[in-house]
């Protein structure tokens, strides 16, 4: 249960942070006049930055789910390892 709970908390936390980062990229990109770009892991897009006309937009890709799940699992593994090596109190 510790693993599952910590995995869920970790994944949700990272998902919220990734969505927040999209908003931040939008504000920064708009003010700094960024162009088109794509951030991702290999072919898997995390953020797609695009400027269409005068408007700057940031779209999230399936990569944010992959990153959130991966970090969530790492958090779960970390919690399990910590609870076995030292009591979590």
């Amino acid at each position: 249960m510790t693993f599952l709970r910590a995995s869920l908390i970790g994944a949700l936390t990272i998902l919220v942070l990734e969505i927040a980062l999209a908003f931040l990229l939008n504000v920064v990109g708009e003010s700094q006049h960024w162009g088109n770009a794509q951030l991702g892991i290999g072919p898997l897009p995390i953020y797609t930055l695009s400027r269409i006309g005068g408007n700057f937009a940031v779209k999230t890709g399936p990569g944010i789910i992959v990153v959130a799940v991966a970090v969530g699992i790492l958090n779960g593994l970390g919690a399990r390892w910590l609870s076995r090596s030292t009591p979590l109190t």
Partner: protein, 277 residues
């Protein structure tokens, strides 16, 4: 690091009554024995460690240096247990402290163990608690943080002077996020009726509270309060396309990482809810 001229202060939520120290915030009592009671009585009466040791040595007719050593170790243990605050007095003590820190940095290449200071938190409303946390963080901690932060931000200002207002907002927000984080813990602890106090040690600050079953929300409350504020700030920043507001939201959102095992809150959250491993 104990100096013989140091004096002891009992925080208002710690009492020395009978033969024990009572931690009123955490609801614990720490019995003292033998000469510990005599030593504690002298220290609580305002004697410096050196003067108390001299008095005890005369009273029990024993070697003053041994008593000084024992009493300094006793005061150190009480300070480590966050039951007392140690107060240095006089410019000589200040000079010795500077010399000790310098020697520690030169010889050990690291900061010496920091002396912790305990601040009782009022049992009033959320605003009173937040104000107390803000006064400690803003007055005692923020100048040190800014001292560390400014050298890091100056190069950014040289390369991107247009970001000056955003970086200023970021700096102020760093302090505000810590106030909200620790204030969130304290308010949540008081809401569920458990005692707490604030501890400052070196450049770090933390709320200490009773850790018993059902305190999971107390651990989560600090990061969650910051997350809600940060998300609201970022939504507003996106709406108004305000770069300073977006930068100001970042430290609040980063506090959400405290929910993971990277931070004490996340580890305690797993422990508070778990116990099934």
């Amino acid at each position: 690091m104990i100096d013989l001229t140091d004096r002891l202060e009992l925080p208002s939520d710690v009492r020395f009554e009978g033969d024990a120290l009572h931690d009123l915030a955490l609801g614990e009592a720490y019995p003292l024995r033998g000469s510990g009671i005599e030593g504690m009585a002298l220290l609580a009466a305002g004697y410096s460690i050196g003067d108390a040791a001299t008095s005890l040595a005369a009273q029990f007719d024993i070697n003053p240096q041994a008593v000084q050593s024992d009493l300094a170790a006793f005061a150190f243990q009480l300070s480590r247990a966050q039951l007392i605050n140690l107060r240095s007095s006089g410019w000589r003590a200040g000079l010795r402290h500077i010399l000790r820190v310098s020697l520690f940095l030169i010889v050990a290449h690291r900061w010496p163990p920091a002396r912790s200071r305990r601040y009782p938190l009022a049992t009033g409303g959320a605003l009173a608690v937040l104000w107390q946390v803000a006064s400690v963080v803003g007055i005692q901690m923020a100048p040190l943080w800014f001292l560390l932060l400014v050298p890091m931000l100056l190069p950014a200002l040289l390369f991107a002077p247009a970001l000056a207002s955003a970086l200023l907002a970021l700096s102020i927000s760093l302090v505000a996020a810590v106030i909200v984080h620790e204030g969130g813990h304290a308010v949540a602890a008081q809401r569920i009726g458990i005692g707490c106090f604030l501890v400052r040690s070196g450049w770090r600050v933390a709320v200490v509270h009773q850790n018993r079953p059902g305190t999971g929300w107390v651990h989560a409350s600090g990061p969650l309060a910051c997350g809600v504020l940060g998300a609201s700030g970022l939504a507003l920043a996106a709406g108004f396309q305000s770069l300073p507001l977006a930068f100001a939201a970042v430290p609040f959102l980063v506090q959400l990482l405290a929910l993971t095992v990277l931070a004490q809150d996340g580890r305690l959250l797993a422990a508070a809810k778990g116990g099934d491993q």
